[in-house]
């Protein structure tokens, strides 16, 4: 009878232990991640300080930390350039991301063929992305230059007129978006190419056997399966071009005039160049929250798209 009782309790773990493992074990993930958490705090701290300073009128020349409420934000919204700045920030991001997505998809589709030329070229696809953005922008600036530039002679050679590129407001946005497209289309193409290569061959062969047209297959098979990969491209490229600084700064520092004064450029010019620290902060902070929420939304959408593409729902 005694043996029976022992065997019954033998496998029953005392309740307290299942609920609470030893303290050190419970805290182990945090302990392991502790150094990274320290850095995390070291980066979040200036962010919080920045938000606090945006509620003052602090300037390097007049270090005044009196609380002024949302006056700096009000000032930003009432600034005569605010609407235009919003427009140019969005215009840059939308056009750069859009062109990269379309061009990247074409390049990826063409690379995803059994072609010797494609194989040779693919190895060099990564090059534009490896040069520092500010340095390759300077190279482009040199190519657009009226005296030593090569782009205008090339345009003239095919019968097109010379352009003044980033020197005039009409073509300034085009010039910087061109550099962005040059730099990051390879990123889009590489991600989308990885997507195309991950597809199972079955559905595509079935479509071929049934005599489906290229467009039919593309719309009904390729595009839905490619959605998670397209979203990755959009997440990275749209967020990055909303906050693009290097290309615009190296090309024109936001000019000519204020043609390319995006939020980032405005924040830099006001807070750092003009030393009015608090006045420029709202631009960076508003941009931060926009990017934070849009990226969170896109990441969730990506998760759903990925599950759908994998056939879970």
């Amino acid at each position: 009878m005694a043996t029976k009782q022992v065997s019954a309790t033998d496998f029953a773990v005392p309740e307290q232990e299942t609920v609470k493992p030893p303290l050190l074990v419970r805290w182990r993930p945090f302990l392991i991640a502790l150094p990274a958490l320290v850095i995390l705090i070291g980066i979040l701290y200036p962010f919080v300080v920045g938000v606090a300073y945006s509620l003052t009128a602090y300037a390097f020349t007049r270090p005044n930390t009196d609380f002024v409420g949302l006056r700096q934000y009000q000032r930003m919204v009432e600034d005569s350039n605010f609407v235009y700045s919003t427009f140019i920030t969005l215009a840059y991001a939308v056009s750069a991301t859009g062109v990269q997505l379309v061009l990247g998809l074409i390049v990826a589709t063409l690379l995803n063929r059994d072609s010797r030329i494609a194989k040779v070229l693919q190895a060099t696809l990564i090059f534009p992305m490896m040069v520092a953005p500010v340095i390759s922008t300077l190279i482009w600036k040199m190519m657009m230059q009226p005296s030593v530039g090569i782009l205008n002679p090339m345009l003239n050679a095919v019968g097109l007129p010379s352009l003044q590129w980033a020197a005039v407001p009409e073509t300034a946005l085009f010039s910087v978006v061109l550099v962005d497209v040059w730099m990051y289309t390879p990123f889009a193409a590489l991600i989308l190419l990885a997507g195309l290569r991950s597809f199972p061959q079955g559905p595509f062969e079935a479509a071929r056997v049934d005599g489906a047209s290229f467009w039919f297959t593309f719309r009904n098979l390729t595009l839905p399966m490619l959605t998670p990969f397209i979203l990755i491209v959009v997440i990275f490229r749209f967020m990055d071009s909303l906050k693009m600084f290097d290309i615009i700064f190296a090309m024109t520092e936001g000019g000519p005039g204020s043609t390319l004064m995006t939020y980032q450029l405005t924040a830099y010019r006001t807070s750092i160049q003009f030393q009015k620290l608090a006045q420029g902060l709202p631009y960076a902070i508003v941009l931060y929250f926009v990017i934070y929420f849009v990226s969170q939304y896109l990441v969730k959408w990506w998760g759903r798209a990925q599950r759908r593409a994998a056939g879970y729902s």
């Binding site: 150094p35 990274a36 980066i43 920045g50 090059f127 490896m130 991600i191």
Partner: protein, 286 residues
Amino acid sequence: MHPRLRKALTSIFSDGFLIIYFMFALFPILWMILVSLKSGTELFTTQFVFTPTLENYQAILFGDPRAAAGVVARVDFPRNFLNSLIVSSGAVVISLAVGVPAAYALARYNFKGKETLAFTFLSFRFAPELVVIIPLSLIYRQLGLYDTYFGIIWVYQLVTLPLLIWVLRSYFEDISPDIEQAAMIDGYPWYQIFMRILLPLVRPGLAAAALLAFVFAWNNFIFPLVLGASTVQTVTVSALGYISSAQAFFNRMAAAAVIASVPQMMLALSIQRYLIRGLSFGAVKG
């Protein structure tokens, strides 16, 4: 149209488009190399045919006679190159030391707030840099960290740490927990399992992610621009110096650009297999 003719035409058209695209993609790099080999006079008079010279490389590496005379803005390229090397490798080493364990914790343990924590690290990658570095430009001056290596390396964690954590997390998640379980049953403590079994399994991915983080740190511009001055000036910031003076020295700038970027292109070729996962922060396995 005959199907075979149609197929051949499609193939020619496709290859033709690819060739045009790659001319667009590679021409600026080729042009950079060409201009770096041009003398000052040929910069203005010739396009593709010229007598190549190494005088630009000589000038930026061993000192420019005209810079000494005050004609050209003085750019101490070797010093800036060394600075880039110090801050980029410093940033990667610190990110590796703190990021590898953090990535492991995020991959293997389930704890409250795990996804929030992971997303916060990722949000650094997407945050507009100025939201952190405008206040830092003030804090660093108060702490005496402005224009110091430590200050720049610390802020570079914004670039290198999210990349390493997210890429490594995806590599750790690829390893079956069964391997660890088996080793645990054999009586190995967790840190030995980590060092002896897991780390060797992720080593190729780890090396590639570290190299990519190095390239991104090297290419960064805005952090040293705002938080550094003469002491820590990197090649990206100093490159502007060649064309900011009254007379632009595009050939010198091109030579500096070649030295600062060709090594990375070679590097990229060597880690090609791991690039897609690195570039997409582990989201695309490639």
